[in-house]
């Protein structure tokens, strides 16, 4: 599917990721609400999926053969919306209405009203089950599409994720790829202190996944690992994407406090200056 990635392609993807980060900051500043930390951490993953890996077309958004993406960590909605706008599913102007009364850009992804959203989410731990259902449908109908599911490292403290992980492997969903946005922080503090989910690699392996580990903020590494997951047979893939919460805005990086807080005007200007 994908031939040669040039240095120029990589440079363009990096610019795109930066645009998405600017979109995220625009959204949470305009809405004075949202979750910038976990949105910024997954911006590179979304960039590689939506601009390099996934078979999607904003002009054929209901194509039954398109690849699917489930944002299980629905609170990173700002990242998904910025990505979809950047990819042309709707106008970037919409981003300013994020979380506001009457906006289609609801606090958490709403598949019924937002073009390009494949599954509603928000209540944590539920996305992988839905992704499994999509992957099973792809196989039943021999459509050959792939399904990507992004989960948070804190999110997978939810029991349903592990129920679903069992199913992914039981049904040999090799058209499924789970990405763990391993930014190591959750609302109450470090994941390892609040409720330790580690070691992740061993856990996922024992559940039957082919597990990959990458720097989740590195575009080159992400492209290479997603390519590898496409060759896995008879089992689902999982990518542990080691990321930095708040990545790209220095004062938000690795700060628990920026999980669910909007910047004030000064902070907004500072963040945009860094991203420009």
């Amino acid at each position: 599917m994908l031939l040669k990635i040039t240095e120029e392609d990589i440079l363009n993807l990096k610019k795109t990721a930066n645009n998405i980060r600017k979109g995220i900051i625009e959204e949470v500043y305009a809405g004075q609400s949202g979750h910038p930390g976990g949105a910024l951490s997954c911006a590179d993953i979304l960039t590689v999926l939506y601009f390099n890996q996934m078979n999607i077309d904003p002009n054929k958004k209901d194509d039954p053969n398109r690849d699917r993406f489930v944002l299980s960590k629905g609170h990173a909605s700002a990242a998904l919306y910025a990505t979809l706008a950047e990819r042309g599913f709707f106008s970037k102007e919409e981003l300013k209405s994020f979380r506001k009364l009457g906006s289609m850009l609801q606090g958490h992804p709403d598949m019924k009203h937002i073009p390009g959203v494949d599954m509603s989410s928000g209540s944590l731990g539920q996305g992988l089950s839905a992704a499994n259902g999509m992957a099973l449908s792809s196989k039943m109908d021999e459509r050959g599409f792939r399904v990507y599911c992004l989960v948070g490292d804190g999110e997978i403290e939810e029991g349903q994720f592990w129920e679903a992980a069992m199913s992914s492997s039981h049904y040999k969903l090799d058209n499924l790829c789970v990405i763990v946005d391993n930014n190591k922080l959750q609302i109450d503090g470090p994941v390892s202190e609040v409720m330790n989910v580690y070691p992740l690699k061993e856990k996922l392996q024992s559940f039957g996944f082919k597990v990959f580990e990458v720097d989740g903020n590195n575009i080159d590494e992400l492209i290479s690992v997603f390519q590898k997951t496409k060759t896995v047979k008879e089992k689902p893939s999982a990518i542990i994407a080691n990321t930095i919460k708040g990545k790209g805005v220095s004062f938000m990086e690795n700060q628990v406090g920026w999980h669910g807080k909007a910047p004030n005007e000064e902070q907004y200007n500072e963040a945009m200056k860094e991203l420009n």
């Binding site: 599954m119 089950s129 099973l136 449908s137 792809s138 129920e163």
Partner: protein
């Protein structure tokens, strides 16, 4: 009403297999209870479209939601307590909020589950399911109606909850009886009272109706199988035409059939309603037939309401 008794869960399984033949988009999921929910009948006919999700109801509902986004019509089957109870948030967030085309069958509802006792006797599911936006809620009373319903909801584009029972109950309707979603079924036209009933309680109401007739009391029975949408016109008609209103259900009196009727009456023509059901308590072990008597949702309990009046 016929002598023949069939549990509505059996009717569900048989109807699924027939529907599966007609509609290739229909898929069935179960959570290790295929033998009990009778979804195994579909499994035998269409093994490639049957998915056992193991003892993991939350995952089952989420998987069904994902399938429905790809054009499938999933019927997710398990005991009512594990569907509506265990997987409530999955039904709420992954099915009802996105208004997905998932059919949920909660079997073994009510105290008539019997010997398994309180943990397995779901008495709050009508209340929980009816509160969810986009959800339609049904509790069929016999074999004929259940079979019709399983087929009919496949034509509804959106979430539906079907509540069935373990206990065998009499066949009430002829094969060619016409039903409609949102329309209750009136049985008899007595004016001395109305017995609104759902599920296994409809046959109990018919028995009471016959016995009361012998005593010169003429009541009508109204099968309220469509709990949401509910037949408001029928409720108001009966309130205007009959002297006494009773509701009877194998469900808590909090938030079930009685509450649904009371809501309609309160807003339109405040009328006294006697609610027979489980009175804010858990069930207990026993035989189904013993429990309907103990919890006073049987024909004798209904008759008492008219005789002692």
């Amino acid at each position: 009403m016929k002598e023949e008794k069939i549990p509505t869960r059996q009717s569900y399984g048989e109807a699924l297999a027939i529907l599966g033949e007609k509609n290739k988009d229909v898929v069935v999921l179960d959570a290790d209870l295929a033998g009990a929910t009778k979804s195994e009948i579909f499994k035998k006919a269409f093994p490639d479209r049957f998915f056992d999700m193991g003892i993991a109801e939350q995952d089952m509902i989420g998987t069904a939601a994902g399938m429905s986004t790809c054009g499938k019509i999933p019927y997710a089957s398990t005991f009512a307590v594990f569907a509506a109870g265990r997987a409530y948030d999955q039904i709420r967030s992954s099915v009802c909020y996105p208004n997905l085309n998932v059919k949920i069958c909660g079997s073994h509802a009510g105290v008539t589950v019997g010997e398994d006792g309180a943990t397995h006797q779901m008495l709050e599911d009508i209340n929980m399911m009816k509160a969810l936006p986009n959800m339609k809620v049904f509790c069929p009373s016999d074999d004929t109606q259940t079979k019709w319903l399983v087929n009919e909801v496949s034509k509804v584009n959106g979430p539906c909850y079907i509540r069935t029972a373990r206990l065998a109950s009499p066949v009430i309707y002829d094969e060619n009886e016409k039903f409609e979603i949102g329309k209750a079924v009136q049985i008899g036209d007595g004016n001395d009272g109305t017995i609104f009933a759902v599920g296994i309680c409809v046959s109990q109401a018919i028995i009471a109706q016959e016995k009361l007739k012998e005593k010169g009391i003429n009541v009508r029975v109204v099968d309220m199988f469509s709990l949401k949408p509910v037949d408001k016109e029928m409720i108001l008609k009966c309130a205007n035409e009959t002297k006494k209103l009773i509701s009877v259900e194998d469900h808590s009196v909090i938030g079930g059939l009685g509450s649904i009727i009371a809501d309609v009456l309160t807003e339109n023509c405040p009328t006294k309603l006697v609610k027979l059901g489980i009175k804010d308590r858990f069930g207990e072990s026993g035989k189904g037939a013993e429990l309907v008597e103990k919890f006073e949702i049987d024909s004798n309990a209904i008759i008492k309401e008219f005789i002692n009046d």
